[in-house]
């Protein structure tokens, strides 16, 4: 189908963007990579009167390392994250997630911030943000504020972004010694949204797990931090009893909801399978 008619503006500064956002209010949508938004427009699932294209705000792009922080600008393309040696070295979780994000032609356009702000419950980058508890920097005319990723995702396509606010960047803690990351997902076709996926980041040293964050996605209306599962792994060694404890913890952590293709039971089962695979993979990763 074709998108319904809209007007378009491409501001070249934040001041101009905020003026336009104020002028058009809820009639306006921000256009970043457009890989979800333009699809929604074409299907007429959305019909905003105005699109504000933020691709002219070049200060929103780029990857920076400053001390123990890796800062990813909202307009950074998936392809740039995928190819970045800095991301590979300092944010291995994000590096490992990138090949799962759609397909090459979409990664060339799609942006980090677009994926996070859109908040699809089965998307990879929101799960990475929650696992690493990134600080999400939001800007508005009134100033800037930081929201932790673990408080940012409020529901299906719902976030803490308020009217008049724009996502500027995410600040991730840089990889620390002894820590590792594993990213896995199950999908019918490579590059599709996950049936179930898992992002794991934590310490594995001398055969012992500690400080592990496990985030499941595709199982509920937002990425789910599996607190009980992490507790089951704390100070644990890999053993059959641990896998049993992990499976029952995963089931306690998740209130899985089914979708049109997969029942809640299927997803819960697959989450347990993935958890076990991911934990085994954590023990086999090389140290940073």
């Amino acid at each position: 189908m074709k998108a319904s008619a809209f007007s378009y503006a491409k501001p070249s500064s934040f001041a101009e963007l905020f003026d336009l956002m104020e002028l058009h209010g809820e009639q306006a949508k921000l256009l970043a990579g457009g890989q979800s938004l333009i699809a929604a427009l074409n299907m007429r699932l959305a019909s905003p009167a105005v699109l504000l294209d933020i691709n002219g705000l070049i200060e929103l792009s780029g990857i920076e390392i400053a001390g123990d922080v890796v800062r990813v600008g909202a307009l950074t393309r998936h392809r740039d994250l995928e190819k970045s040696p800095e991301i590979r070295a300092h944010l291995p979780l994000v590096h490992k997630a990138m090949p799962f994000v759609a397909h090459a032609a979409i990664r060339n356009r799609g942006t980090f911030g677009g994926s996070v702000a859109f908040a699809d419950a089965a998307a990879e980058l929101p799960a990475c943000c929650v696992a690493l508890d990134a600080g999400l920097e939001l800007a508005s005319r009134q100033g800037r504020r930081i929201v932790r990723a673990r408080n940012f995702f409020k529901g299906l396509y719902e976030t803490d972004l308020q009217p008049g606010e724009v996502l500027v960047s995410a600040e991730f803690p840089r990889l620390q010694p002894g820590y590792r990351s594993v990213f896995m997902e199950l999908a019918r076709r490579h590059g599709d949204y996950a049936i179930v996926g898992v992002a794991v980041h934590g310490k594995f040293q001398d055969g012992i797990f500690s400080d592990v964050a496990i985030v499941f996605f595709g199982v509920a209306d937002r990425p789910v931090l599996a607190v009980e599962t992490a507790r089951a792994l704390e100070s644990a060694q890999v053993s059959e009893p641990i896998f049993k404890a992990v499976r029952s913890a995963v089931l306690r952590d998740l209130e899985t909801s089914g979708d049109i293709y997969h029942s809640a039971e299927t997803k819960s089962h697959l989450a347990c399978v993935l958890a076990e695979r991911a934990i085994r993979a954590m023990t086999m990763e090389h140290d940073a």
Binding site: F6, S7, Y8, S12, N42, P99, A104, A105
Partner: protein
């Protein structure tokens, strides 16, 4: 302040030819190529980014033509299957698709060729699994994909001088 408008004057190059047109904001790039320029080699299947039939190149990178607005290509260099066919860039891919029966109805073929051209140029050492992964964004409802992977693999091997690609 820049005002939001419904129509824009667009200037870009398409297959190395300079083009200027007035376009509505809502028009996506694939429609612009097909309807305004008559370049109907770029196909529209799903029109929401799933099928890959509308794959074109913008500034050297493959994109979904249905998920980019025409006005977002202002100032860009766009290449379509017509351009890369005429330049001879994908002649070996086209020949391999023909030899390996990598198309039947041909609807997906322009998108397949552009996606494949991206891979054989950047990563001609790709394994079959990597070829499958790279081509996973393009649907084909005729071939079952094996012959497409065969064709892309043959070109990868031939371009790197591996004799297996020459059969």
């Amino acid at each position: 302040m820049t005002n939001a408008r419904d129509e824009f004057d667009l200037r870009l190059t398409v297959n190395n030819v300079e083009v200027a047109r007035r376009v509505p904001a809502r028009m996506h790039l694939a429609d612009f190529l097909r309807e305004e320029l008559g370049l109907t080699g770029t196909h529209l299947g799903c029109e929401h980014g799933i099928c890959g039939a509308c794959t074109v190149r913008v500034n050297g990178e493959i994109v979904r033509g249905c998920l980019m607005l025409a006005i977002q290509a202002d100032g860009a260099a766009v290449e379509t299957v017509e351009g890369v066919s005429e330049s001879g860039e994908i002649a070996d891919l086209q020949e391999a698709f023909h030899q390996r029966n990598a198309l039947q109805c041909g609807f997906c073929t322009p998108g397949m060729l552009l996606a494949a051209a991206d891979l054989v140029k950047r990563d001609p050492l790709a394994s079959r699994d990597q070829i499958r992964e790279h081509m996973s964004g393009n649907f084909c409802r005729c071939t079952g994909y094996h012959s497409i992977v065969d064709a892309v693999e043959a070109v990868c091997r031939a371009r790197t001088g591996d004799a297996r690609g020459r059969t």
